[in-house]
């Protein structure tokens, strides 16, 4: 049985490979360098998510937050989410559309553009992880939602979370966001077993 630290390190490495691919996809779209932090994997009560993200990463999830969430099921189930403070979301859309959609209100096209960006990032990570662990995972279509930062615990369905947090920053622009991977507790056990098998195999 691998330890929690070993599990966290292994998961962080998986995510790291995935976000590298996601970053290059996004970078090609915006013609800007994308900086992604080294993932940090923690387990926290769902109620602490906003405080945790703000404390650890100073993103400023204070008011309205844009969330793109994509659920997955199978041996490993959970959801991958991208969180942007609303101001960063506006700037990102402005950057992607050459300022066409830079007005203050978030309309349908803007939602679609942000959903696509979230989709690219999430697919980059989850596709890579799925490939490496070689487990069949079924993915749902991405969902777009806006909520207040205080409502994030409800968005994450009131359960304890395994967070794999990646900080996204786009150079030259003050655009910051989080990539958050959430795993069900049983899935975490399954994922732990898979990782243990992988590490044993590699030894």
């Amino acid at each position: 049985m691998i330890t929690r630290e070993e599990f966290n390190d292994a998961l962080a490495e998986l995510v790291n490979v995935g976000v590298g691919r996601a970053a290059s996809s996004l970078s090609a779209m915006v013609n800007e360098r994308i900086e992604l932090s080294v993932p940090r994997v923690v387990t926290i009560p769902h109620a602490d998510i906003t405080r945790h993200l703000n404390l650890e990463h100073e993103i400023g999830l204070k008011d309205e937050v844009v969330v793109v969430q994509q659920a997955f099921t199978g041996r490993v189930g959970g959801a991958a989410s991208i969180l942007f403070p609303v101001e960063s979301a506006r700037k990102l859309v402005g950057l992607l559309t050459g300022g066409l959609l830079s007005n203050e209100e978030l309309d349908l096209e803007r939602e679609a553009a942000l959903t696509e960006v979230g989709n690219i990032l999430i697919n980059g990570v989850m596709g890579t992880i799925g490939n490496i662990i070689g487990v069949e995972v079924r993915y749902h279509l991405p969902e777009y939602l806006e909520c207040h930062a205080d409502e994030l615990p409800q968005v994450f369905q009131e359960r304890d979370l395994m967070l794999a947090v990646v900080l996204i920053a786009i150079s030259g622009q003050e655009i910051k966001g989080h990539l958050v991977l959430l795993f069900d507790i049983p899935s975490m056990d399954n994922l732990g077993a898979i990782i243990e098998e992988m590490t044993r195999g590699s030894r």
Binding site: M29, T97, N103, E109, A112, I120, N123, M126, V137, L141
Partner: protein, 650 residues
Amino acid sequence: MNDPFGPSNLHILDFVPSGCCVLVDDGVIDFWSRTLEHWTGLRSPEIVGKSLFQVFPGLAEPRYRDRILAALRQGVPTLFSSALNPSFFPCTKPSGRPRIQETTLVRLDPSVQGQHRLLIVVNDVTEQVERGEKYRSARSQALKEAQERRESEERRRIIADLSMASILIGDPGGHIREANSASCRMFGWEAAEFENLSLFDLVQEPVRLNPLILGESDLGEEDLEILCQRKDGTPFPAHVYIRRLALGEGSQFVAYVWDISERKRSEEILRQSQKQESLGILAGGIAHDFNNHFGGVIGNLDLIESKLPPDSPIASYLDKVRREILRATELSRKMLALSGGNPLVVAEVELNAFLRKIRGDLKGILPAWAELRFDFASGPVVVEADESQIQQVIFGLLTNAGESLSQGKGLVEITTGNTVLDGDTLASSFPLQPLEPGTYGFLRVRDTGCGIPSDHLQKVFDPFFSTKFSGRGLSLAFIRSILQAHAGGWSLESSLGHGTVFTVYLPIRPEAQRVSAPPPQALPSSVADGIILVVDDELVLRESTAELLHELGYRVETAGNGLEALNYYQAHPGQVALVLMDMTMPVMGGKEAFLAIRDLDPQAKVVLTSGYSEQDVTQSFRNGELVAFLPKPYRMMDLAKVVGGAVGLP
């Protein structure tokens, strides 16, 4: 084994209102729905079995290809939004516009071991996007217009606030909606308070505004001068321009209000000054003529007296006539003072000491039963003034005070002191007097008499205004003239039945013209040999003067105007010892004749005589040109002194 996602099972997608395409292997097209056939014009049999990336080369770019293949191989659902990828399958609408698409890629996983397929679902969002664009365009235009309106409003507000005029905007009922900052300064209301005010609250004559403001349909403008009022009720004259403007379905008024208090004050000072000047000219002219006539009378009286025996009973009657003439002469002198013709002879005058000196005379002016009190300042009150003229002022004030007292009782009190009149005090309490801020000595005369009706207060300074049956009406006008000459001021408070307070202010350092008193001239020691040429157009005066000089032992000739005098002088070179010349004459005046005679004989001696004041007459001559000036009317002794002094000069 039946493949649930095989082509034979996919035709249900032909009935879906979205474009549907299914890929297998490395992007080979396995299904192409009727909707896509319709949109792209590409028939299914033409492209099924071909690579998507060959049929649509744009999708072979890595940013599409990698994601499409990742979706197929890894099963991650993938979105291509209309905002970032508007034409996944390039095609147009019947109108020729590009068909904008929202594309979703979902892997179809077989329930049993089999081939993965990728379902591409394309939704046409062209109308939605165009509505969004129209909305954004309209919104952007509206925002731009709103911003321009805000800026325009801000500019308008700044311009309005910079304006010195009050600008008021309101509805046709007169209710004020907006007021600029000048309005706050002018009317004394806070900006927010104007919203509870009507234009009628700001004027003292609201009835004059009604037709313009209340008329429901009249659009027009009006320019008027009207009395407005400040928050504390203080009235002020204003120039108001009001215009009714159509606005939407209704209308508004815009009013510009200029406070014209200062202009009115200047105009009033100018009007007073012009009035004073024209009255002065009139008074001076009358005084001049009177003096000529008095001169003839007095000269003849002196001649009659010189021919009477010493004990003649007629002498006393003549004396009475002369005294009456001299009283009339005094009135004439006051009229000349009104014209500003009397020069000041100023010196330091300590008012307390001066009042003590003339206390007895002052008591004599008042009725015997009236009480006269003095309240002297503890320290000296030193002003620079013409003592004789200030005495006239005090006498005039005491006379008025005495005449206002009721029969049998009453008090007159004289107070002195020093006071500082600053700019604010002058503006508020002496608005029509052009005084300089500074220290003034004052003399206040208070009586307990009948007082002056308020409607008379502004008129009492007008020459010839009098409410007294026997009044001459010159007293206060005379006093004002003297005070103005001293650069001094006055204040008058009175209420009917409660008495009057008149205060005189004299500057400590007046700008009054200083003229030295003329030096006494020596009496002639002997009669000259030459001819005295008397030049005057007034026959009676000319003849009486000639006869008086004759009586004094001179040889005398006469001329009726300047030209006759010049001709005589020219015809008798070296024979005329002195010319006694009137100033104002027909044909040729005294000044012209003087210059002509001086041209003939630079040593000619000329004494000018006139019914005008010395200052008026001599100011057009250079110093030393004239031997002397003799004011009319003159008595025999004055004539003897001046002529004797003149011919006696080397």
